[in-house]
Symmetry: C2
Subunit: 304 residues, 2 copies
């Protein structure tokens, strides 16, 4: 049983800190030494309060190897609306999606909303709007009909300048977050969205630049373990729906070093990171039973 340090990265911004260290995927000195929380506390000082040092974290992978772990299993809430929409309390997680995240800046020319005729405008916001709608179409184009082939595209940040009622927007910043379980599909989505941004920029006579924010490789879970998860959930609930995980989890780090699988408990409503979200008790009960059954079966499997 493991209690990972700081899956969310809420205090210092670095997610999956404990699991990444244990997987040997974290260079503590380079990635953590400079981090400071909102109250100005340095990460190394916060670690020291708990008897941990950056150097100590570098020994985590070595320690993990001495455990000789045969599998990693994780139970988590879905943080999404898929199971609730299907009216299913528990699901098999296929893996964590890869992420391509960029910030775009469309640069046109601010102008007076009354004085500038439409055909002489260089409206940066309209270009960003076309881009956002095109990205939605791209996500629909690449989404297959199975949970494994579902993809998403999101424009979450939009900042318009000068942001006046009477000004044609001269520049617009917009973020794009693309996710897919299949690395090849993710690559094609990125190429399509880059073309869409060029097309939108051309139509509205503006320029566009791309700045990278984050790149994460998809992590698929272990087929053998997933079979055990599937059978266990089916035994407890009657059916075992499959779904990818859009959010990252500690399981994503573990998947690189040990056979890994995950179970999702239904969220209601599945809107993530809010007190409004809950897992109804019957679904929680079924999830825990299915998870413990998976643990038993995994132990049996590896004892053979």
């Amino acid at each position: 049983l493991v209690d990972w340090a700081d899956e969310e990265g809420a205090r210092f911004g670095r997610s999956l800190m404990g699991s990444a260290a244990s997987a040997g995927a974290l260079d503590a000195e380079t990635e953590l030494a400079h981090l400071v929380d909102r109250q100005g506390v340095k990460l190394p000082d916060a670690l020291a309060e708990n008897g941990i040092t950056l150097d100590g974290m570098q020994t985590a992978r070595g320690y993990f190897d001495t455990l000789d772990a045969v599998a990693y299993l994780e139970l988590h809430i879905e943080q999404g609306p898929v199971l609730e929409a299907m009216k299913k309390p528990v699901g098999v997680v296929l893996g964590t999606m890869g992420v391509e995240r960029y910030n775009l800046r469309f640069i046109g020319q601010a102008a007076h909303s009354g004085a500038a005729p439409i055909h002489l405008r260089k409206d940066a916001f309209l270009a960003a709007a076309e881009f956002a709608l095109a990205c939605r179409e791209i996500s629909i184009k690449y989404s297959g009909k199975t949970p494994r082939t579902r993809v998403v595209a999101t424009c979450g940040v939009v900042k318009v300048e000068p942001n006046f009622v009477t000004a044609v927007p001269g520049s617009t910043e917009i973020s794009i977050d693309l996710r897919a379980l299949d690395a090849k599909v993710l690559k094609r989505m990125l190429a399509d969205s880059q073309r869409a941004s060029q097309k939108a920029a051309k139509k509205h006579l503006v320029k566009v630049t791309w700045s990278p924010l984050l790149h994460i490789t998809p992590r698929l879970f272990d087929e053998t373990l997933m079979k055990l998860v599937r059978a266990s959930i089916k035994e407890v609930t009657g059916s075992a729906p499959e779904l990818p995980s859009g959010p990252l989890h500690d399981a994503a780090e573990m998947a690189a070093v040990v056979p890994t699988a995950m179970v999702f408990a239904m969220s209601s409503p599945g809107i993530s990171h809010t007190r409004l979200e809950d897992t109804p008790v019957p679904a929680l009960d079924k999830s825990i039973r299915a998870f413990l059954l998976t643990v038993d079966r995994t132990l049996e499997h590896f004892a053979r």
Copy 2:
């Protein structure tokens, strides 16, 4: 010759203060008494420093009537790119456009960018993006081929919430500013854009509300005076292009109480309210000569 107080409204936010008072279109007590500038100075105190009172302003219309003015003529920079694009130094202004200005709020549901499948999203920004692009199409649909029938639509303010890279936007505020010289056309543009907002909201499973910001009636200039303006500009420059004014001017207030016309001098670049904008000296020279010729001809006309 008149030097109007505060055409721009830059300090207290109320545009056309002097001309509106002189046209009897300003209720100083109701509209001005409560206004305060960014340094906390009250408008009545700023007036007092210059020997003026709110009560005194209410006498402006009476004073204007004693002048027995026969016409009002104004020379202004275009603040737009039209004359420069036409390579013309001076133009005849047809009138000031009417304005319909609203703030819209699209309300959906914030969700995790990875966890929420596209078909279960209520993305408020995508609805706002569809609305903005539809408004551009509406302005193209209602724009005729003549300067008199040119119309514009602008979304200048866009505010997305929660504005996180990893969040589907739960709500989006967007402004719309519609302008036309023809009041009937303006009304139709507004009805079309209201329908477009409903359609966008429906497509993205969100709600939309409208809040009024500003309503201004179109003000067309005097046909007789425009003939004199046209002839004068033609005499000085060889041709007299016509164009509407998107921005408001003191002439808009005067048009309600006395025959009024305006001359525009070319702006380069025509982007408004920036130090980058200028009127090249040859264009300035021709504008002034055309304006003075108009003044002479107007005096002649009314002396008959």
